[in-house]
């Protein structure tokens, strides 16, 4: 049973399918914002399949091992996080103490894999992208972890299951002043983790010609795209787990979960469609000078009990 849970539902297979459908949902919203029709529902699957069918280049200047390994590292961690979150949401009792810290570390690895791969590619433009990714990475992790720890402190538990059960007993974390501030900070950090528009500084199609992904092609690119799709499923799920009481699959819980999920992805894609790209120094300023104090404020408020 537990193997089925990890491999099929709500683990690997489910996460990939929902991730690719979410990519379509995001693109469809983008299209509707621009008064277009947008792609058909199978677009995500078609893109990935096509990329797997294409030739894969490894540039002569690249460090082979690192270049090939990076997408697999990122993809497998994203897959693992998706499965862990799904299983923890299904059986809150089964999570272990400290798994929220494990998840936090695992969620960092895709960004590190991107930095790793793009600096191994030997392309100077990719390297500019990877240095930007590194700076961005350092800026968004700080407010994100402060929020995470303030929530763990509030629930008196360091496990996903504990946080979910605390919320089932006392109402979702979002419905309090500290929760609202925390949610805003967390959703902006999520946007940066996903590398979507106000923070797509490392990818910057206009100036860096898709920067960090520049040298990737064929199946390696497909694996990176799959990783991004998985993150697009995992991070909203993570927000739901931490702020909205996790997925509750009994009765109306399913409906409620789907609505929450679609709403969070909707907010993320609205932010991405209505904002221009920030410069890297502006992004660092935003995270360190504005969002970190807000995160600390939310921590203090939740300590006081608001």
């Amino acid at each position: 049973m537990i193997i089925f849970n990890y491999l099929v539902f709500p683990g690997f297979l489910f996460a990939i399918i929902i991730g690719l459908l979410t990519v379509w949902y995001d693109r469809k919203i983008t299209a509707r914002v621009q008064w277009r029709v947008g792609p058909p529902w199978y677009q995500g699957f078609a893109d990935i399949l096509k990329l797997f069918a294409k030739e894969t280049f490894i540039p002569a200047t690249a460090k082979r091992t690192g270049f090939v390994l990076a997408p697999f590292i990122g993809f497998s961690t994203a897959l693992l996080v998706a499965a862990m979150l799904g299983v923890a949401g299904l059986y809150p009792k089964m999570s272990f103490t400290g798994d929220i810290i494990v998840l936090w570390y695992l969620l960092m690895i895709p960004s590190i894999a991107i930095i790793f791969g793009s600096s191994a590619s030997g392309n100077p433009i990719s390297q500019v992208g990877s240095s930007r990714e590194m700076k961005l990475f350092m800026s968004y992790e700080l407010p994100f972890v402060i929020i995470l720890f303030s929530i763990a402190a509030k629930a008196h538990s360091l496990s996903i299951g504990g946080i979910i059960e605390y919320q089932r007993a006392n109402g979702a974390n979002l419905w309090s002043l500290s929760g609202i501030i925390g949610f805003v900070v967390a959703i902006i950090s999520t946007q940066a983790k996903l590398g979507l528009v106000p923070f797509d500084i490392p990818e910057a199609e206009g100036e860096l010609a898709s920067g960090i992904m520049l040298e990737y092609s064929g199946s390696l690119l497909a694996i990176f795209k799959l990783m991004k799709a998985l993150l697009l499923y995992t991070l909203p799920l993570f927000l739901i787990t931490v702020f909205l009481g996790g997925m509750n699959l009994q009765g109306f819980g399913i409906l409620w979960f789907i609505i929450e999920y679609l709403l969070i992805v909707f907010i993320i894609s609205l932010i991405r469609n209505t904002n221009p790209r920030l410069r890297i120094d502006q992004a660092m300023n935003l995270f360190w000078a504005i969002l970190t104090p807000l995160a600390i404020l939310s921590g203090i408020l939740s300590y006081v009990g608001l």
């Binding site: 277009r36 792609p39 096509k50």
Partner: protein, 143 residues
């Protein structure tokens, strides 16, 4: 038809190369990619790197300066790849025929390095976005 081929037809990522056109064709291509014509319906996306591309949208006659660059970018594009030659210039060097720096129409240049290369002709000076969509659909049917 295999599943991979079907997926390929539903997801063409394009990369735009200007090989010394008069820029009218380029403006029409930019029009093609605007929300008004919405080519994302067919899965067509503009990408920033030739490594990600399936189709190259090439405009203009190829001159001595751009020829080596066009060949370089063409060879960097992973197979299977398609080249779209836009406008009279691209097809036949148009009004630049016989010019001192003209290196020939796009298909000639591409076939020099890759005799198997698929080149799709889109006539017009410049072709309308509707004509481009028509060309893409016909090309995908013929693949």
């Amino acid at each position: 038809m295999s599943l991979k081929m079907k997926a390929f037809k539903k997801s063409i990522w394009v990369y735009h190369i200007a090989c010394s056109p008069c820029n009218n064709c380029d403006i029409e291509i930019l029009d093609l990619l605007t929300p008004r014509f919405d080519v994302e319906r067919f899965g067509i996306l503009l990408v920033g790197s030739p490594r990600h591309a399936d189709a190259l949208l090439v405009t203009g006659m190829v001159n001595r300066l751009t020829k080596p660059r066009l060949i370089e970018v063409y060879l960097q594009t992973p197979k299977p790849r398609v080249v779209f030659a836009f406008g009279s210039c691209g097809i036949s060097t148009g009004i630049f025929a016989g010019g001192y720096n003209t290196e020939g129409p796009i298909d000639k240049v591409i076939h020099e390095v890759d005799p198997e290369g698929i080149v799709v002709y889109v006539p017009g000076c410049p072709p309308k976005p509707e004509a481009m969509i028509d060309a893409i659909v016909k090309a995908l049917k013929a693949l």
